[in-house]
Symmetry: C2
Subunit: 314 residues, 2 copies
């Protein structure tokens, strides 16, 4: 039996033919073309599905289900997609439109949730019963796996971990609240913190790496400078690690998962990031002598979206 996983993003649609164990057998990509409207995008997802099955050497009758990971949520009542960040979608009948072209069971989930599921099937959290996956990127997304299954809550609005409030009254968030965790722990936050610090210390390594141009400072510039021991970058990095840990502590003290998996652009800093978090966290958890969640890096990278989406139908 095969599965098709679709990873819908603002820039591209990726579709993969995936086997029972989460292995990608064939992968195809096309541009999203958001400006064409939702119907055209959904039709492309359906056609890419048919193409990837055929080019993967499979038959449609051997495909059990299609899964879609997208930057939004599905309304469990209507089955429609009420929102999609960056795509400007409102109340789109994705399944209905897909079914006009391909008649298979279709499952839809948030992209971070899907990536978390992928890790729990074929990645670092394989065989872990309860895990929380985090994408530290432009924002902070979350995926929850409980008892081996995707958990998205009673109304489908859960796992928005970036919008736990960790700094009440703090910076304004796109969601309208102040002090959401992602304001302080996303890649965007690290960039902002790095730029502010570098503007105050023009001789620092961060600034040198950015060719003296504050606007060119990226998350990687800050991380690399900290790795090389630059004091300005290290100060930013220490604060950033604390910011990440404020939310991790909430996750641990709340649902106490077996593992927390770090994905997204920031996680590319690898062991340097991981070791700093693993050093800070034990001083902050509530039960200081009891075991708590292992913190690990995601391993599937860009394929997580396809694999996790495919596994929704398993």
């Amino acid at each position: 039996m095969f599965y098709v996983g679709i990873d819908l993003g603002g820039m591209s649609i990726k579709a993969g033919l995936v086997d029972e164990n989460g292995r990608i057998l064939k992968k195809l990509t096309c541009p999203t073309g958001v400006e064409r409207g939702a119907k055209a995008v959904v039709e492309d997802m359906a056609r890419l599905t048919l193409d990837v099955v055929e080019q993967g050497g499979a038959k449609l009758e051997d495909v059990k289900a299609i899964g879609i990971g997208l930057p939004g949520i599905q309304d469990p009542e209507t089955g429609r997609v009420p929102f999609c960040t960056n795509l400007g979608w409102h109340d789109v009948p994705v399944i209905e439109w897909m079914h006009e072209i391909v008649d298979k069971p279709i499952y839809i989930q948030n992209d971070a949730t899907v990536a978390g599921l992928a890790e729990s099937v074929a990645g670092v959290s394989a065989n872990v019963k309860n895990s929380v996956f985090l994408t530290l990127g432009t924002g902070v997304g979350g995926g929850i796996v409980l008892d081996g299954k995707v958990y998205s809550g009673s109304h489908g609005v859960g796992s928005e971990l970036g919008h736990m409030i960790t700094v009440a009254g703090g910076d304004l968030c796109t969601c309208g609240n102040r002090g959401c965790w992602e304001r302080y722990s996303s890649a965007s936050a690290l960039i902002r913190m790095g730029r502010e610090a570098a503007a105050q210390a023009p001789d620092c390594l961060i600034m040198q790496k950015a060719g003296g141009c504050v606007e060119k400072i990226s998350a990687k510039t800050v991380m690399d400078s900290a790795k090389e021991g630059d004091p300005v970058a290290l100060k930013v990095f220490d604060q950033y690690i604390y910011n990440i840990c404020t939310g991790l502590v909430g996750i641990i003290n709340f649902i106490d998962p077996e593992m927390i998996v770090l994905g997204g652009g920031v996680s590319l800093a690898g062991e340097f990031l991981l070791n700093a978090i693993r050093e800070k966290l034990p001083t902050m958890v509530f039960y200081k002598t009891m075991p708590y969640a292992r913190i690990e890096l995601a391993t599937l990278g860009n394929d997580a979206g396809i694999i996790g989406a495919a596994m929704l139908g398993r």
Copy 2:
């Protein structure tokens, strides 16, 4: 079939004979006497169990299990109780000692978790699949019910909801972190905020109700003054409602329960508290047009500890 539920607190041990539906048939109480040491307390729990079964007109062979709710946690590895707040217990073999006197299956859980279970069996969250229970008291405790069952995490250290960080870098907490939610949303927080405000405004109604003595200001004094429209008290109350909502938003955005139940001393403010939260929360949740958790008041009061403990064995 019957169950025995034991509610162990710093002041008293309460034991109840409970039927399958969570109804208390007989209830007995004795002082805890913490100063006598853990062994004496555990022996009293065992004897109270035998007494409540006999005086309830039941036979020990009709008792399926004994449940204990206590202000601590059980180590799932050892079965022992590594900590018990206010009792000064460390690594106490509760089950082993109980079994020297009464030979029945014994289940142990945190007191807030147990109260949440009680509400989900015989209280306001009966028949609710996923719920979060909060005790707004001296601190803030939490109980999680997922899929109708108690959820305390992968290592038994979950549901410590009062120790989500909502004000990073804020007030120092007993747990060693700064800015834990309970520092801002417990009864103690309301009292502190009321006292600070009243000290600045000696003519306010809060101060009058406390007979001009700041030390006599209680959570009830502040709540009652706010109910009567005192501007100083209302300002404190508004801030307090915001503080509560910062954590509620985290709970909703994280695990999106079907219901959040408010218990503990603060919840005695009733509809006044509930209405204020229900008015504030919709402006703060992430998905503003999607349904989210109903917020309700606990209904079982002091019996929740006995009922929930008994239901652990069901």
